[in-house]
């Protein structure tokens, strides 16, 4: 029988795919215009299930994952500023990294391309997970 003063620390380290979802979770894509001289495009994920707790985000592009393509993300309701670095706002997300975020964070997040550095079309893939 556990001691009444015993403390158990639980960490949810490894999210699992949403039960009942095909392909280890639900994937959906939002394309950012990348050819020619693209302008700023703001995207959100509106359709994440209420039961989803964690989202895996990953950038994919036709750059063959060289790590060059980036996006900016804000989570405070503001729009990412993609102008000069001196006034740029947003968290920089890049290829080669799987970002693991709370689903509520992703629901609130706004994603923007960075037109001055974008050279390829970018796909931001979101996989819904539970814990």
């Amino acid at each position: 029988m556990p001691n009444e003063f015993e403390v158990t620390v639980e960490e949810n380290l490894v999210p699992t795919p949403r039960p009942g979802r095909a392909n280890n979770g639900r994937h959906f894509r939002q394309w950012f215009k990348g050819s020619g001289t693209p302008g700023q495009s703001i995207k959100k994920f509106f359709d994440i299930s209420d039961r989803t707790k964690v989202c895996f985000l990953q950038i994919k592009s036709r750059e063959n994952n060289t790590g060059k393509q980036k996006l900016l993300m804000t989570i405070d309701g503001t729009t990412p500023n993609v102008d000069a670095p001196e006034i740029r706002t947003g968290h920089e997300l890049s290829e080669r990294t799987i970002y693991k975020f709370n689903a509520d964070l992703v629901r609130a997040a706004r994603f923007s391309n960075i037109p001055t550095s974008q050279t390829k079309d970018i796909t931001l893939v979101c996989t819904e997970m539970t814990i």
Binding site: V54, T74, D76, R88, L105
Partner: protein
């Protein structure tokens, strides 16, 4: 029995506005972020442009006497740590440092 659950997937602090900090190549000042919301637990910090030095012991960051945070990386820090954190551009950097900090809670 007591249970302490560590939430590794924090969500945005309601009402909190992210803070940003820039340091041009001629800016050698030691800088700190402003106050955070009371219910904020974690700061999500992104570094872009160039590396920056950070200290949390009250001393001024130097090139060789600080934690070096590299451009392109994201960091999670406790709010208490960030309240004591001081930042300074690495002197050899050739681009503007851009720090962007969002507040998170459980």
């Amino acid at each position: 029995m007591n249970t302490y659950v560590v939430n590794r997937y924090n969500k945005p602090t309601p009402g909190a506005v992210a803070q940003s900090m820039q340091m041009t190549t001629s800016d050698n000042a030691v800088k700190t972020f402003g106050a955070y919301k009371e219910n904020t637990k974690v700061i999500f910090l992104s570094v872009s442009g160039a590396a920056v030095g950070m200290t949390i012991d009250g001393t001024a960051p130097g090139d060789t006497s600080s934690h070096r945070l590299f451009s392109g990386n994201n960091y999670y820090f406790a709010k208490n740590l960030m309240q004591n954190a001081k930042f300074k551009r690495i002197s050899t950097g050739t681009a503007t440092v851009n720090l962007y900090a969002s507040e998170m809670t459980n």
